[in-house]
């Protein structure tokens, strides 16, 4: 760096640059928050979907699974599990049956705990995953396997 380039100039680049990009980020955030209603089909967030998200959270499902690609990489992606397991033709029933039948107990295989969910809670989780599968996620994942 040349002698003429002083610490004060460097500091001003830092302050000015940061401020500019913080403001740009806030502007993009406002744009996104306004555009989201067309993409997240929030009108379909029923009480069951809300309960389902809560059950998802208090059982730390994200500790093994990914949801829209975010989470742990130990167990399958669940953002599209509803579609993968049959969609309108049995997707919900599959999810509920699967959760209830855990753990598989197969020796050496990855195990999912049994969370002892009630029928209403099971239904809510399935509704939450169905709702999630219908978010406009820009055509991700690349294929049904997640």
């Amino acid at each position: 760096m040349k002698e003429k380039f002083t610490k004060t100039m460097a500091r001003n680049i830092f302050l000015g640059g940061s401020l500019f990009f913080i403001l740009l980020f806030l502007a993009l955030t406002v744009g996104t928050v306004r555009a989201l209603p067309q993409r997240d089909h929030r009108e379909n967030i029923t009480p069951a979907v809300i309960l389902g998200k809560k059950i998802w959270e208090v059982n730390n499902c994200i500790g093994c699974h990914t949801l829209l690609g975010e989470g742990a990489y130990f167990a399958p992606e669940l953002g599209n599990v509803y579609t993968r397991r049959g969609g309108a033709n049995g997707g919900k029933e599959f999810i509920k049956g699967w959760i209830q039948s855990m753990p598989s107990g197969v020796k050496g295989r990855r195990q999912m705990p049994n969370f002892k969910l009630s029928e209403q809670e099971l239904d809510a989780v399935a509704e939450f995953l169905k709702w999630t599968s219908e978010i406009n996620s820009a055509k991700w994942p690349p294929n049904i396997e997640g």
Partner: protein, 460 residues
């Protein structure tokens, strides 16, 4: 050690190292569960081990940052800490709260912990890295406020250097952004959007200010290069960090329901994110080459140079590898992400905290600049063992990730997730092996603190 009150850094560093050891043990447990699926089931299911692994990492790094701050700020401000007593009270508060939270994870089912801690009143649990009970989160906020108050008051009464102001700026940003962890809307897309304001804007934003400030402080100490030069570099590096990193958040907004224009913003700006890390490498080596003194603590200098190089590789190169949206379309949420996460956290944050501990501990323990030859030798070995093992972990996970992407996402007949996992098990075994060597390196690092007897016994 120039000021008495710098001594409060010591318990912070010791706690950080203890929790670090715990983190690695749980890492090994998870690594084994990847290949022996029912290992320790049902006592420690994978999700619990992972929560302990990642939460311990966050907590010990916070202990490290706080310890580093308590050590650095009095020296920079040329005054005693405002209140060493407050620093110790906050230390014990944070340690007890952290320990109780980890014990809670291990001893009761997570759903029971949520009920026990009143999650229903303000549900914030069950989101990746923010799994802490709402009560613990509130505790973290209280500790941060007390900490910032203590540091702020110290700065007010003393000399204000660029290093300490930037450090305080980074720490304030850390505390402010953490407040978004209390926002948990029922709409998953909104939830994910603002979740990244904590996670991304921490590690690819304000934490880098903390990293830069600590690195600059260490380089002044070990090289004796003029402060004006070092602080000028520091400003330019963190300017580039925020200029690229803030909009770079967009690389998380490709596939979570957010508009497609983020694919452009995110790809372009995050492709520039390696620049500040590259500058950090040039900066660190330049300063060491232009050194005006030969500091005897070679280990600390090695860690400082190491952090610049490994942060560039882990955050810069491994980040760039999957940050362009057409690539990320295939790699999103695979072992590629895990590979990047491991090397980036190790290079940028683990190593800078270890660098600070290596520099400060001999002084805090009254040994002088180093704790003796033997201790230095052990530390240098531990540096190489940990660094090479972490590179190996990263390479094996990258191998696993490439195969996973091909088999599960790109092949003409895609393989289901679990079948893919069995096919790439070899890489998980190799990763676990590298993890054992990493633990060996950490043990050597800890042993180096007890290898100072010759120095104490021998007359200087």
């Amino acid at each position: 050690m120039v000021y008495q009150s710098q001594a409060v850094a010591k318990p912070y560093f010791i706690a950080a190292l203890g929790l670090f050891a715990g983190q690695i043990v749980f890492g090994l447990v998870m690594g084994l569960q990847y290949v022996i699926g029912d290992f320790l089931f049902p006592y420690i299911p994978f999700n619990v081990a992972r929560m302990v692994h990642t939460n311990l990492l966050i907590v010990w790094l916070l202990f490290g940052f706080m310890g580093a701050t308590y050590y650095l700020v009095p020296e920079e401000s040329e005054t005693e800490l405002y209140s060493p007593k407050l620093a110790l009270i906050l230390f014990w508060t944070f340690l007890v709260a952290g320990a109780l939270t980890i014990l809670g994870y291990l001893m009761v089912p997570y759903a029971a912990l949520a009920k026990l801690t009143g999650n229903d009143l303000l549900p914030t649990m069950g989101r990746e890295f923010l799994e802490q009970p709402t009560l613990t989160k509130a505790g973290i906020v209280v500790v941060c406020l007390g900490f910032l108050f203590n540091i702020g008051m110290t700065l007010l009464k003393g000399r204000k250097t660029a290093i300490s102001l930037i450090l305080l700026g980074g720490l304030t940003g850390l505390a402010l952004l953490f407040l978004f962890s209390f926002y948990n809307p029922t709409n998953l897309v909104l939830d994910k959007f603002f979740w990244w304001w904590v996670v991304h804007l921490w590690v690819e934003g304000v934490w880098e200010l903390i990293l830069g400030a600590i690195l600059a402080f260490l380089l002044i100490k070990v090289t004796g290069v003029d402060r004006e030069v070092i602080e000028k570099w520091l400003y330019i590096i963190i300017a580039m960090t925020l200029i690229t990193g803030i909009i770079g958040t967009g690389h998380h907004y490709f596939w979570i329901g957010t508009p497609e224009y983020w694919q452009w913003w995110g790809s372009i700006f995050s492709a520039l994110e390696p620049i500040p890390f590259f500058m950090m490498v040039v900066f660190a080596f330049n300063m060491v080459n232009r050194r005006r003194r030969n500091h005897p603590n070679k280990a600390a200098t090695l860690w400082a140079l190491g952090t610049a190089v490994m942060a560039f590789l882990g955050a810069g190169v491994w980040g760039f590898m999957h940050t362009l949206s057409p690539v990320n379309y295939y790699t999103h949420g695979t072992q590629i992400t895990a590979a990047h996460g491991h090397l980036a956290f190790f290079g940028a944050y683990v190593m800078i905290v270890l660098a600070m501990i290596s520099y400060a501990m001999p002084l805090l323990r009254g040994h002088g600049a180093t704790s003796g030859e033997r201790s230095q030798r052990l530390e240098v070995i531990s540096f190489w063992l940990m660094t090479v093992s972490m590179v190996a972990i990263t390479l094996f996970l990258t191998g696993a990730g490439i195969l996973q992407v091909f088999l599960q996402r790109m092949a003409s007949a895609p393989t289901p997730f679990m079948d893919t996992q069995s096919q790439i098990a070899l890489f998980y075994w190799l990763r676990e092996g590298a993890g054992v060597f990493f633990l060996g390196g950490l043990v050597l690092y800890l042993v180096s603190f007890f290898a100072d007897r010759e120095r104490i016994a021998a007359p200087v």
